[in-house]
Symmetry: C2
Subunit: 292 residues, 2 copies
């Protein structure tokens, strides 16, 4: 393994430990409810948001323990959004990470409740952190607003609304990418900043936004060039369903160029930091070159 | 109007004012998202939870202003639960308060997002309150847990799971009623107690639980004896769909007896308070005798 891979797996392991602990303790009744929550949480995935949060925290010199519950809450929010997004009347995806989607296993009704349950539990975790001072309240509020009706939910709503538009409008596309994807990814790196009084706040906001856009564009590229084997979900769906994507607006080559430009922007922002940004630099390349 | 009706409409008006202000400011994009949130929030309803909260607050001598945002958050949570509960794969209700359900107007995908949006916004409101001290954090956390996977969502999940059971088990029925209905109603009266250091905490918890059960039992009775005109939703559905209800277990007369016993329990608890409990006494009768 490269040094980057080592570090990535170390962050990921730290996060998986707290996630496993959380899942082991999760035994709410009825059993189908806890099982459906655990099912989606334990499907795996890259855990990009928690890894980003822990890496940004290390850059700022924050004790990792202070961050783990925020990372857990963020991953719960992300997971709820995938469950609801996969529903038949939303993106209608039967597979997620190579396994049947939540609603394919537990039924639509239970999948709605599993999503609700994860979202609500994320706030239970965040509210527990709010006893530890105002910076924690600020961080929790920031995550909440990134996930909410002026954030991720607005992006999902616009995505659904414009699904069958004949033409792709650049402003609308940017609105969708910014809200649906970039804001929650941005929250991962901004949370540590808020927890230490706003250190590097504007740099981390900008970095989070750009790597969030980069993440969504590479997602679009993978929908065209990727495989079910690597992605664990259906490919070619965006185009078939008339989704609003950069690929439709700029073409595949245009998207790759945009992805390269965003990569450069991310690296440029990282240059302005004092600390050791090697991992975040490598992570940016990783997002650009990912195959899943 | 009786003195009780006067007071009820005064509490309700105070709440409707802050709700209207909230709705007026709600202009997130895309428009369909804010419209779908407002649609369900403005369908009306008795606003029992906010009224209970303001009344309990007055009994404890809390400044009403301290409570209004908590009442708003609670009503948002209640409203999200109705939207998701009405979905085709849940209770499949086409009408709510005499108007088409959210998903009948905006489609299932948008209704899922409207529910998500209301739930998330409730936490945005609660987290804003968390800047005002630890008691507020405790109150927000309490509401969150009543609404969550060991509360309302657990109740919904059990309700869905046991929908077609041949026989009704009393323990399961109590679990459903307690979690699906009583916990969030209880949160309405417990929140003011937490905000003033736990004054009358156990009395208000017990009162909230019993009036919550009473509310659910009268709901079941109305499903048999009520009319669409008064209720604004379909009647006779519980039985037709094999729902778990007290009516199935105890029969209609048995339910009425139980409702009367719960009424007495509520009144008995209120006797143990120092302050003026006249309104809460009348409210208990009101819940018992309601026709909608």
């Amino acid at each position: 393994m490269t040094q980057f891979e080592d570090k990535y797996s170390e962050y990921r392991k730290a996060f998986e430990e707290i996630l496993t602990e959380f899942c082991n303790k999760l035994n709410c009744k009825p059993k189908i409810l806890s099982e459906s929550l655990k099912y989606s949480l334990q499907l795996g995935g890259k855990r990009v948001r928690p890894v980003l949060m822990l890496a940004a925290g290390e850059l700022l010199g924050i004790n990792r323990k202070k961050l783990l519950n925020f990372a857990l809450a963020l991953e719960l929010i992300h997971t709820y959004s995938l469950i609801h997004d996969d529903l038949p009347e939303m993106d209608n995806d039967d597979f997620r990470r190579g396994k049947p989607s939540n609603h394919k296993v537990f039924g639509v009704g239970n999948a709605v409740l599993a999503g609700d349950g994860l979202l609500n539990t994320a706030y239970s975790i965040l509210l527990r952190e709010c006893f530890n001072g105002e910076e924690n309240v600020s961080a929790a509020k920031y995550i909440c607003d990134c996930a909410g009706i002026s954030g991720m939910i607005a992006g999902q709503s616009a995505d659904l609304l414009h699904e069958n538009d004949g033409e792709v409008d650049e402003d609308i596309l940017n609105f969708i990418y910014e809200n649906k994807t970039a804001k929650l990814i941005s929250a991962a790196v901004v949370t540590p900043s808020i927890l230490c009084g706003g250190k590097f706040y504007s740099e981390l906001s900008a970095f989070g936004r750009d790597i969030g856009f980069l993440f969504q564009i590479t997602d679009d590229i993978l929908d065209v060039e990727g495989s079910f084997e690597n992605l664990g979900k259906s490919v070619g769906k965006d185009n078939a369903e008339g989704k609003y994507t950069e690929v439709r607006l700029y073409g595949l080559d245009g998207c790759k160029l945009k992805a390269d430009l965003l990569t450069d922007k991310c690296l440029k922002i990282l240059e302005s930091f004092d600390g050791d940004t090697e991992f975040l630099r490598e992570l940016t390349y990783f997002v650009r070159q990912r195959i899943n």
